[in-house]
């Protein structure tokens, strides 16, 4: 096994662990931020200012009773949360966390893999992630879960299309599907008259960015698109019947998806590790945090969509918009290349 591959493995392990740790504290941050927004205190008993709360929660979920409904499809019931949980962090493999650094004389790339179909890979993994939800909904032998699974299937297929199409504009501009390449292009400087702006794709693709943001929220089943689990309608939807650590797998998967898609959005639209001073992974983290804060903010602020409104939004509003965006971008690109 060559050293390059080995360093990739090591880095993958690091990313995975960081993600899991982040995810745990993501729940803590979400609860704190929501508490602040809602005039309350949030977790404050476990550890200093409640910092140990995620660990306590994890322990609690671990030792909780694992309930399997009698009529459930046992094997799938057990498989579904694992599927969700495993697929969620896999997508992070293509996200570049920076250029290569030298560790103990070895050149180590700060990404797990730079594949030439990274964007498609990300979409592919995202589209696989829904299987956990659908199968969980099916296997629970519960009407609410079934409805949740059905909603998830329809919603994810619809928003997958929007998500993919909103990225086409960026791909047209960058001419590459590789995230490393896309980040490198964004670190260039864009000069508009006296303005010196970073060539972030949010500036050239604002419409695509907004659509991506909406589709990303829908893709991760977060409020106001949390229809598959809508606790006031479907009592948790697909995870109604799950308890204990199996439930926590779904829970973890949702938060990891959020973090990963935030990292992805930061990479695609906000220049990734590019920053005004001293490029590095902290910029990526900061940008991702903005997205995560946006997620939480949305959850505390807006009511939930209805199923038909959700689908209407995807097919009647976002799809035409994103197609127009692609068309415009294509024309501008051709014009820029002097082909028009």
């Amino acid at each position: 096994m060559d050293a390059n591959l080995l360093s990739s493995y090591i880095f993958a392990v690091i990313v995975l662990n960081v993600l899991l740790g982040l995810m745990a504290y993501m729940t803590y941050i979400e609860r704190k931020v929501m508490a602040a927004m809602q005039d309350r205190i949030g977790p404050n008993r476990t550890g200093p200012v409640g910092l140990l709360q995620p660990i306590a929660d994890g322990l609690k979920l671990l030792v909780k009773e694992d309930i399997i409904p009698k009529h459930a499809d046992r094997r799938i019931f057990l498989l579904a949360p694992l599927l969700s949980f495993v697929l969620a962090p896999v997508a992070a493999a293509v996200i570049p966390f920076g250029d290569s650094i030298t560790v103990f004389g070895h050149e180590v790339n700060l990404y797990v893999a730079d594949i030439n179909v990274a964007v498609l890979y990300f979409l592919a993994i995202g589209s696989m992630g829904v299987f956990g939800i659908i199968l969980g909904g099916y296997a629970s032998a519960n009407r609410y879960s079934l409805l949740g699974g059905l909603r998830a299937a329809a919603q994810v297929i619809s928003y997958e299309i929007i998500l993919g199409l909103s990225l086409i504009g960026v791909i047209i501009l960058s001419g590459s599907l590789s995230l490393v390449e896309i980040v490198n292009q964004q670190s260039e400087t864009l000069t508009i008259g006296p303005l010196q702006l970073p060539n972030w794709f949010i500036l050239s693709q604002p419409l695509a960015f907004i659509i991506f943001l909406i589709a990303a929220v829908a893709e991760t089943n977060r409020a106001p698109f949390d229809l598959p689990e809508a606790e006031t309608e479907l009592i948790g939807g697909f995870h109604t019947e799950y308890s204990g650590f199996r439930f926590s797998f779904f829970f973890l998967a949702e938060y990891i998806s959020m973090i990963v898609i935030s990292l992805f959005a930061a990479t695609i639209f906000l220049g990734g590790t590019d920053g005004p001073i001293q490029d590095g992974v902290w910029w990526l983290a900061l940008k991702a945090c903005i997205f995560l804060f946006f997620y939480i903010w949305l959850r505390t602020t807006v009511p939930r969509f209805r199923y038909d409104q959700l689908m209407g939004l995807a097919w009647k509003v976002l799809l035409p918009l994103v197609l127009i965006n692609i068309l415009l971008t294509g024309f501008i690109r051709l014009w820029g290349l002097g082909m028009l």
Partner: protein, 410 residues
């Protein structure tokens, strides 16, 4: 080690088959443990996809026989039971019952007590509407609203607590007035609340009234036509949301509502959004009524009748005069016996027309007690509104009717 439990479906498979017209339909059993049924109500939904074909509310999970209990308790003993019907607006229930009994006995509370009763009634209305708004918004998915609403409701509950010691089940009224003096700080608290609340309410409206998702979830949903509203005997905001001008406070004024200047908001479309607007406006009107009461109220004066045979004598005199001691003894041991007859007293409760019907046979225990609770009647319109709506609308519809299961099931 995992435990296998049987899925608790009260409706058996064969029964479900009988309930549906075709195999494309699905029976969904919503409740009684569903988070959005506001208690223990069960709604049996027949779905086709996510569209509701049939909707059948099943009641009685919280039935405690309040009416029957009333027929086995003495008149004054029943007051705490009224707290436990609509527990989010307990003072209003107290008020309705007390007014009914007073009407039966032909007595009337002193002026100052009447004003305080109005204030407490309006505060109860506000408390109830705040619960409604919070839960309604929560059902539709606006998570933070419930916390904001409960924040303000806390102020009202503090007022109740200061006044009578209890926050939820207040039991604050007595035949002929109040049994306790008004604490000194109470008027100030009420005034403070009146100053604070409108600002808070404006905050709620910025969060909801023009939020596109809120609008799309509430507009055009659950429309009740005026004719249907009347034929379903709806009252309260459900009726007024459909544009029908009926408010007990205006139609048959009780207490001093005829001295108050306030307006009754009426909706134009009769959908969930209209009912939301009507209730929001009612809260503003309530604040105005409270402020008017505080202004008009005499600063000093008795809080309770003392001389009537139907009321408990003043505590100080019990140990001083033989008559009062005797009366007190009889009142406590035997209770009082109103004249024979029957009486119906309706008040405008936060949810609609709350009516108490009492039949007296001259004994200290009522012959018949009947509660016309508004949300029980209003709940009838749920199937009417739900048919053809989406599954997600059901929670909005239950929210818009504003039910409290304690009051529905009694």
């Amino acid at each position: 080690m995992s435990l296998e439990i049987t899925q608790g479906t009260p409706v058996e498979i064969s029964e479900e088959r009988a309930l549906t017209d075709s195999r494309r339909q699905m029976v969904l059993n919503m409740g009684p443990q569903h988070p959005s049924t506001h208690g223990v109500m069960r709604v049996v939904l027949t779905l086709e996809g996510e569209t509701i074909v049939d909707c059948d509310p099943v009641l009685g999970y919280l039935h405690r026989g309040v009416e029957k209990l009333g027929e086995t308790h003495r008149y004054s003993q029943f007051v705490p039971w009224t707290d436990r019907t609509d527990y989010v607006a307990a003072p209003s229930n107290n008020l309705g019952y007390i007014l009914a009994v007073e009407k039966l006995c032909g007595i009337e509370a002193p002026e100052r007590a009447t004003y305080w009763r109005m204030i407490m009634g309006e505060l109860a209305r506000l408390a109830s509407h705040l619960v409604w708004l919070g839960t309604h918004a929560l059902d539709i998915g606006a998570l933070s609203m419930s916390l904001y609403c409960f924040r303000e409701r806390e102020l009202i509950l503090d007022i109740f607590e200061t006044f009578c010691g209890a926050r939820l089940t207040t039991n604050m009224m007595e035949m002929g007035g109040f049994s306790r003096p008004i604490p000194e700080q109470l008027p100030g608290m009420v005034r403070d609340f009146c100053n604070v609340f409108p600002k808070m309410q404006a905050e709620y409206e910025t969060l909801l009234s023009s939020n596109p998702i809120w609008l799309s979830r509430t507009r055009g949903v659950g429309v009740i036509e005026p004719e249907a509203a009347i034929s379903y005997s709806l009252t309260g905001a459900c009726l007024r949301g459909s544009g029908i001008n009926y408010d007990v406070r205006k139609a048959t004024p009780y207490l001093y509502y005829d001295r108050m200047e306030f307006e009754v908001p009426l909706g134009t479309r009769g959908d969930v959004y209209d009912r939301y607007l009507v209730r929001m406006e009612e809260m503003r009107q309530s604040i105005s009524i409270i402020e008017q009461c505080m202004e008009q109220m005499p600063t000093d004066g008795p809080l309770a009748l003392t001389e009537s045979p139907y009321v408990i004598p003043e505590h100080d005199n019990v140990m001083k005069t033989a008559e009062d001691m005797q009366r007190h003894f009889i009142w406590v041991i035997k209770g009082f016996s109103p004249p024979k007859g029957e009486v119906y007293q309706a008040i405008e409760h936060s949810k609609g027309e709350l009516g108490y019907y009492l039949v007296s046979d001259g004994t200290p225990i009522p012959y018949r007690v009947r509660l016309r609770t508004p949300d029980f009647v209003n709940l009838q319109s749920l199937p009417y509104m739900a048919q053809g709506a989406a599954l997600a609308d059901v929670v909005a519809l239950i929210g818009t009717i504003d039910i409290v299961l304690g009051s529905v099931d009694r």
